[in-house]
Amino acid sequence: MEGHSTHIALPQPHEIPKRDREDAMGAYLMMFAAWGAGLPLPLLNLLAAIIYFFTNKKTSRFVSFHAYQSLLTQIPISILNASAVAWTLRNLYKDYAFSDYFWTYFIFIGLWNLIYMIFSIIACVQARKGRFYYFWVFGRISFARYFGPDAVSLEEKEKPNLPPEGF
């Protein structure tokens, strides 16, 4: 660890234990499971992502990075899905028509879910290989949190482990 580095040195695939790789992969896999179960109530999978993140945040930086990235990407998708569900329920409950705007939005949401799924599968596979995978914007935020300058300064404050004097 150098004093003025702008980020913490990234663990390389061969340095990452299999357990960590699986936990990192789990951050995305869990999202798929919750996604299927939570489709009628999209905020459920957001809740699952939050729980997974807090459960794994103290394991390793690699796992925390993937869990945090999975959680962050889940937020906009959950909001989009929840709004689509709310719009559908409103139409059904209030007896309103399913307008062209609704269908445009519905297809739009479908496309974003598809994009999200494709990128999550890629991230899942990469995590299993012990690699980092960065989503646009969210990858940077997650990286900054666990490996960026703030993480560096926090790490620098920690008293390092040293060998016995004289070695």
């Binding site: 139409n91 059904l92 007896d95 028509a97 297809i107 739009f108 496309l111 646009w136 940077r140």
Partner: protein
């Protein structure tokens, strides 16, 4: 500096993807809508003469197959209402509107090719004023003017079979089609357009659109109607709430002359065949 540039680039990509998916969503929606209206061009291939010949065939079929109500006073009053509406239709059209009253158990009204409108007795019985019946007729007139009955035939059978049928190439097909025609549904867009037409025509004819709202509420009582919301959604008619709301908005803008009909409607309804007949 590099970090900022990288973030800016990714935000830009995200924004472009956002716009792109919105555009794709809209394009797919447009495509699906146009699929429903694909018969728009085909309809022009059907001449008025063919349509009128088909109307005659339908009338013969109904006369032979259904129980027509032939009360001169009732039919005269209904024809007067139809005339009042017809005289205020803004669009040009070639149709001579003809109304048949059919004794049936169905609470329904129906527009058929050639300007033929069928009113079923239970529907008339449901109305409380002649204006409510006029509202239903105005809606059906909308289907007539938009040539929706032919469109639904084309949608169901395809243009080739429809043309063969209208040319009179197949008498068996004719009979089957007339039977099926009574069951076919319009698309939601067609229903909405007919509603808009009805409200416009009612206003032009000096009839308060609130009567449209009143009869819609009777035809589809909503929560007490028994059908689930989802089933209602899957049906082709626009939602009752929306239709009623639209009619109320039109009514709010309606400058009433206070000239609602003076017809003694309860007495007119007594001219209908009894439910025990």
């Amino acid at each position: 500096m590099n970090r900022t540039a990288g973030l800016s680039r990714e935000l830009l990509f995200l924004g472009v993807l956002l716009l792109f998916t919105t555009f794709i969503g809209y394009a797919i929606q447009l495509y699906l809508s146009s699929e429903l209206d694909e018969n728009t061009q085909d309809i022009d291939r059907i001449s008025l003469a063919w349509e009128m010949r088909f109307k005659t065939a339908i009338k013969q079929f109904i006369a032979a197959d259904a129980s027509l109500v032939e009360n001169d006073e009732l039919n005269g009053l209904i024809a007067d209402l139809a005339r009042r509406l017809r005289d205020h239709i803004k669009a040009d059209h070639p149709y001579e509107i003809e109304i048949l009253v059919v004794d049936s158990r169905m609470v329904n009204a129906m527009a058929l090719p050639g300007g033929l409108i069928i009113l079923y007795v239970p529907l008339i019985r449901l109305t409380e004023t002649p204006e409510e019946l006029a509202a239903v007729m105005a809606h059906e007139l909308g289907h007539v003017i938009h040539r929706d009955p032919l469109r639904k035939m084309i949608r169901q059978m395809g243009i080739a079979a429809t043309l063969a049928l209208l040319r009179g190439d197949s008498s068996t097909l004719l009979e089957n089609t007339i039977r099926n025609l009574l069951d076919l549904k319009y698309t939601r867009d067609q229903e909405s357009a007919a509603d808009d037409f009805a409200l416009e025509t009612l206003v032009a004819a000096g009839i308060d659109p609130i009567h449209f709202a009143a009869i819609m509420e009777k035809l589809d009582p909503g929560k007490g109607g028994g059908k689930s919301k989802l089933v209602k959604y899957l049906s082709t008619h626009p939602h009752r709430g929306e239709r009623v709301e639209k009619a109320r908005r039109a009514s709010a803008q309606f400058a009433s002359a206070g000239d609602d009909s003076t017809i003694d409607w309860p007495r007119v309804k007594k001219l209908l065949p009894s439910v025990f007949d």
